[in-house]
């Protein structure tokens, strides 16, 4: 039952070439400490799945800048000029989805299904005509579920069994990714004993979690970023 693991062991489970979902919409939810260890261990040819690319010099941007990432599946990277440049010069393959479609692809995998039907962007350049079908009198497109080998994310609180809660907007993709990946590695600054989290307040139940790593979240990545608040 106890999933408390040291960070080196947890990240060493990840082989070269793995598909990894990374939680976070911007900084909240991003597992900065797990990413730091992935940077140190140096796994390569990774495919990352994350809402965005963080910002230059932090989070997954460091893995991309370090050449460990082959492909990024994402929704918007406008806040990271460096990654936009790497995409434009061809050194990083990037695949874009509408934000809610990426979320739904992950949610669908997490529910054990294989795809869903949608009309988002049906007549736009994001749709390949071969994916369009007639369904109950409507034109819709088939959107496949998105599974991954690993998910890494941050939880505000976790017990040693792997029951999780998220804080404010740090929830974002994390609970969806927890359900869609085979091996789920969570970092938390608040690791508590089972029973400390009231069952009705658990956001992600322990069954979806493989490893829980206790971290020290006093570093600057976990603090306020300048210029993002009213002076």
């Amino acid at each position: 039952m106890d999933k408390h693991t040291v960070i080196e062991e947890a990240i060493a489970l990840i082989p070269n070439g793995a598909d990894i979902m990374i939680g976070g919409f911007g900084s909240p939810g991003t597992p900065f400490t797990l990413i730091e260890e992935l940077l140190r261990q140096g796994q390569t040819d990774l495919t990352l799945i994350k809402n965005d690319a963080n910002e230059t010099g932090i989070g997954i941007s460091r893995l991309i800048e370090n050449g460990q990432v082959k492909k990024l599946i994402t929704t918007h990277i406008g806040l990271n000029k460096k990654v936009v440049d790497l995409m434009n010069d061809g050194s990083l393959e990037v695949s874009f989805f509408p934000q809610g479609i990426l979320a739904e692809k992950i949610r669908t995998a997490g529910a054990g299904s294989f795809g869903f039907l949608t009309d988002i962007g049906l007549h736009s350049e994001i749709t390949d005509k071969k994916d369009i079908i007639d369904w109950q009198g409507k034109q819709v497109k088939i959107e496949p579920a998105l599974y991954a080998n690993f998910a890494l994310f941050h939880a505000g609180r976790a017990d040693t069994f792997g029951n999780l809660t998220y804080r404010a907007t740090a929830m974002n993709f994390c609970p969806l990714m927890a359900m869609a990946a085979e091996t789920v590695i969570v970092e938390t600054p608040n690791l508590v004993t089972p029973g400390s989290i009231a069952p009705e307040t658990v956001h992600t139940p322990s069954a979806f979690v493989s490893k829980v790593v206790k971290i020290d979240a006093s570093g600057p990545e976990y603090d306020l970023m300048e210029g993002r608040y009213e002076p």
Partner: protein, 214 residues
């Protein structure tokens, strides 16, 4: 200045009881132009209903941002949720209005605001789902680009975010409504003539019964 004029005018579009989404950039600034007692629920794509004004360094929480990455406050009665729920809310049309920017809008209500091929392609974000599924799309943009070209066109040239989705456009020069007959000029900015606005616009403008100043 022009931005101020757009935002002041746009604040009148937000009424008590609405659930709205404010797009990244200029639309997000609208929150500062609303009267403090305006009773609205502001949705942010990253999983907030009930977003408030930007936080100060004293009130900012590192785990609480809006979709543009700014630290925000929340109003009483707010909620946090995951990204699938956030976009279910959008695709199920639970928002009364989305306020968005534009590179181009045309007289049929087509909107282009996500990509300029070869120049700007940072991704789609929430734009397509918001534009395609929200009942009312309010566009805020300057009337012309830096080179003096009209952003209000007969037909969009850039890849579309969504087709025939826009209901109203507020620029620094005019307020225009997309109707089944075409684009209707409702209001013009103080100090301008109808002639000047028509001159500055590529789209065909239908003059409303009464064109007021704002």
């Amino acid at each position: 200045m022009s931005l101020e004029r757009i935002l002041k005018r746009a604040a009148h579009e937000i009424t008590d009881g609405q659930t709205i989404n404010l797009g990244i950039g200029v639309p997000t600034m609208l929150v500062n132009y609303l009267p403090a007692d305006r009773d609205v629920m502001i949705h942010s794509e990253n999983g907030v209903l009930g977003a408030g004004r930007k936080a100060s360094v004293a009130t900012a929480d590192p785990a609480l941002i809006d979709a543009g990455g700014s630290y925000i406050t929340t109003r009483p009665g707010g909620a946090f949720f995951d990204s699938a729920v956030s976009f279910a809310m959008i695709r199920r049309a639970k928002l009364d209005m989305s306020v968005m920017g534009a590179f181009e809008v045309d007289q049929e209500g087509n909107l282009a605001n996500w990509k300029i091929p070869g120049k700007f392609s940072p991704g789609i974000g929430g734009a397509m789902e918001l534009a395609q599924k929200t009942k009312n799309i309010l566009i805020l943009c300057t009337h012309q680009d830096k080179h003096g070209n009209s952003k209000i066109l007969k037909k969009c040239t850039l890849p579309l975010t969504a087709e025939k989705c826009v209901s109203r456009i507020i620029t620094d020069m005019a307020v225009m409504d997309v109707t089944k007959d075409g684009l209707v000029l409702k209001e013009i900015a103080e100090g301008l003539t109808i002639e000047q606005v028509v001159q500055a616009t590529d789209a065909d403008l239908i003059l409303g019964e009464e064109v007021r100043s704002f």
